[in-house]
């Protein structure tokens, strides 16, 4: 009697659908989940009781005021996070650079030259951060923390602890913040450039390699230190630019602006957008949408009149709820794409 093996057939799994086409390409982008969550938050406020007040151009402008500086700084911070580093001094560079500009201006240099010099100082700050990190192998957390405190004090010294009025007018002023939407323009351009750098250039590959596996990257001939120094420089440059443009828009260079809150929101925007805190992968466009989401939540609850004591409670609940939704959508994407 021949043993008959039992038929252990089960119906073959359905053939996977073709993983091509625009729709699938969209699904494959890691930023999709954060975009959907931002849209959900927008819908929450648009359809709520303050919907008519929420959906006005003026209100969109206020939302932009919140997220534009975070997005600009996050463009740099997300690249740094990808490299496996972090910059805690970005918020203080934000406050410091406008007063560097004022120092040059008050010494008699004209506005464009003072701007260029201030921007060069911003890059110099990043260079120092990067050099100390790479040459002395001092963790970037500590390096930039020290630099942050240093800049905080320097801001008070340079400003004499008094706010100052920006002397920038005319077309240059419009470009740098006087025109309502100029800050949005800066944010979009900087995010686009950095995302292109991340996705399409060797620098982007090297940055991800440096963050994902620094030892192998170095062994493969990637100049990890140079990549990191360049990224630190870029981050401080963006922080300085954000400080100038944002404070020209407000109409006042203020020593209390920026600070650790600004840095924290930028890093949060980068992480919420999909950049791994431990490095190796990330997205700059995601950071933009992370910033937009945070701004919608913050502005929406201020609009609906949540008072200051309850405000942080509400923001905390909203952020966690939004992130749970984000994780859920990501897992759905993963299951659908596998």
């Amino acid at each position: 009697m021949a043993q008959q093996t039992p038929q252990l057939t089960r119906s073959a799994p359905p053939a996977p659908a073709a993983r091509t086409g625009f729709g699938k390409g969209l699904l494959r982008r890691r930023e999709l989940s954060i975009v959907l969550v931002a849209i959900a938050a927008f819908a929450y406020f648009s359809l709520g009781s303050y919907g008519s007040a929420f959906n006005t151009t003026n209100n969109y402008h206020i939302i932009m005021q919140y997220f534009a500086p975070w997005a600009i700084i996050a463009a740099g911070e997300s690249m740094l996070l990808i490299c496996g580093e972090i910059d805690l001094s970005a918020g203080f560079t934000f406050s410091f650079i406008p007063f560097v500009f004022m120092s040059f201006y008050n010494q008699g240099l004209d506005v464009p030259l003072s701007l260029v010099l201030a921007v060069l100082v911003a890059m110099g700050i990043g260079l120092v951060n990067g050099v100390i990190r790479t040459v002395f192998n001092l963790a970037s957390f500590i390096t930039t923390l020290g630099m942050g405190f240093f800049l905080e004090g320097m801001t008070y010294i340079q400003s004499g602890a008094e706010p100052a009025q920006p002397p920038i007018t005319g077309t240059l002023g419009d470009l740098l913040g006087d025109w309502r939407w100029s800050e949005l323009g800066w944010a979009l351009i900087i995010v686009a450039v950095m995302q292109a750098a991340l996705s399409y250039t060797k620098y982007g590959v090297y940055a991800q390699a440096a963050g994902g596996n620094p030892l192998s990257a170095a062994e493969s001939g990637i100049k990890v230190n140079r990549v990191k120094v360049a990224t630190f420089t870029l981050t401080s440059l963006f922080a300085g630019l954000a400080g100038l443009v944002d404070q020209v828009r407000v109409g006042s260079f203020d020593p209390t602006s920026g600070g650790s809150d600004m840095m924290f929101m930028s890093v949060a925007a980068a992480v919420i957008g999909g950049t791994a805190l431990l490095g190796g992968s990330g997205t700059v466009i995601g950071a933009l949408f992370g910033a937009i989401l945070l701004a919608i939540i913050k502005e929406g609850f201020t609009l609906s009149g949540v008072s200051a004591y309850a405000f942080d409670v509400v923001i905390g609940i909203a952020v966690v709820a939004a992130m749970l939704l984000n994780v859920y959508i990501s897992s759905l994407r993963g299951r659908y794409l596998r």
Binding site: R28, I62, S252, D254, P255, G305, V314, V320, R338
Partner: protein, 381 residues
């Protein structure tokens, strides 16, 4: 996007057969329920924390004509600082007296001007009935004030004033004068040596003018005194540490003073803690519990009352009158006062724990039998 590296999170791979289909479906249903339930819970919690929307019009109050339920917005630069607790009581009391919903209280926690500007513009966007704001910066609030006035929203400045701005009125203390008077008082006790002066937000227009006034008075009346400024920060918890560190660094200081509420309370705490009462002169501003205890026990020589309660009460009253009468009753500029609280007049402040000064008791405070004479009146000629 074939060249894009960042996009390749899920490269195409043949699907592998999963485990039993049934348990996978059950797990995913449970997960979806959990997340959906969590989201619903979160949404309910958010809705509960949010304030009520504008209700329909109220009945008339007293003998006034009927008005709608106007919602005012108070912007503040240090929203969680306990100095403004009586201000919030004042604004809520005035609103309830006039049959209005409680005003919102937003702004910045750490004196960040751009956050205050955003909150101001958001209030305009929400079409509130009136806005009250401390003008802690000379330039940043000009454009939003003009926008609010253009939209028919009255704007009143309280607690801090700035020149070149367009708020309808200022309700608060004359900051430079109060610092000057404090400097004159210090000059009677300390004529030479070093003094420490704590300031929570250097450069901010709600406290910097006091420090400027103080330095000017000392330069005029007691030029031998050297003023050392201590930056204590806006968050109260850090102010004690900052004052302690400064004192440790300058034990020879003849006097320890402050120009803001939190730093004054920290000084009173510090002097009691180190047991140096009577060895060093001290004084400051405002009536936090620790400061009152300090004046009663002798740790502080004086503190200055600027009536935080009225800074919340009066703007609501003024904006209500302005709206109800269609601008016929224009809000008057109001000096909410500069009272030196010393050991002689501190007892009602200390014993009543009244909500007027940020305490918990909302009871009638009995009048004293007789009233002490105030400083003699002066008239500008």
């Amino acid at each position: 996007m074939s060249g894009s590296i960042a996009g390749q999170e899920f490269p195409s791979a043949p699907a592998t057969a999963g485990p039993e289909g049934g348990s996978l479906e059950r797990r995913s249903v449970l997960r979806a329920l959990g997340l959906g339930g969590g989201a619903a819970l979160a949404a309910t919690a958010l809705a509960a924390c949010g304030s009520s929307r504008n209700s329909s019009s109220t009945g008339s109050i007293g003998d006034f004509p009927k008005t709608s339920a106007w919602k005012f917005a108070f912007i503040n630069h240090v929203t969680t600082n306990s100095f403004f607790a009586p201000t919030q009581s004042g604004m809520k009391d005035a609103a309830s007296l006039l049959g209005l919903p409680a005003p919102t209280w937003t702004g910045s926690e750490n004196g960040v001007v751009s956050e205050m500007v955003s909150a101001f513009e958001t209030a305009i966007s929400a079409n509130v009935a009136g806005i009250a704001i401390p003008l802690t910066d000379s330039n940043a609030f000009i454009a939003p004030t003009k926008a609010a006035l253009a939209a028919g929203i009255p704007v009143i400045a309280y607690n801090a004033n700035a020149s070149g701005n367009y708020a309808l009125a200022y309700v608060g203390q004359d900051l430079y004068q109060s610092g000057y008077q404090m400097g004159l008082k210090i000059a009677t006790e300390v004529t030479s040596g070093d003094i420490l002066v704590g300031i929570s937000q250097p450069g901010s227009l709600n406290v910097q003018p006091r420090l400027d006034g103080l330095k000017a008075a000392l330069a005029a009346k007691a030029p031998g005194v050297t003023v050392h400024t201590v930056d204590t920060g806006a968050a109260q918890a850090g102010e004690l540490s900052a004052m302690e560190s400064a004192y440790q660094g300058l034990k020879a200081a003849k006097g320890i003073y402050a120009v803001d509420a939190g730093s004054t309370a920290s000084i009173a705490e510090m002097i009691s803690k180190y047991g140096i009462k009577g060895q060093v002169h001290a004084g400051g501003y405002d009536l936090l519990a620790d400061s009152i205890t300090g004046v009663s026990s002798g740790a502080l020589d004086f503190t200055i009352d600027q009536s935080a309660y009225l800074q919340g009460f009066l703007p609501v009253l003024y904006m209500f009158m302005y709206r109800m009468t269609g601008t016929l009753v224009f809000p008057p500029a109001t000096d909410t006062g500069l009272t030196f609280v010393t050991s002689e007049n501190v007892s009602p402040y200390a014993s009543s724990k009244s909500w007027i000064e940020g305490g918990a008791t909302k009871a009638l405070v009995p009048m004293p039998g007789s009233i002490g004479l105030p400083a003699p009146s002066t008239v500008q000629s």
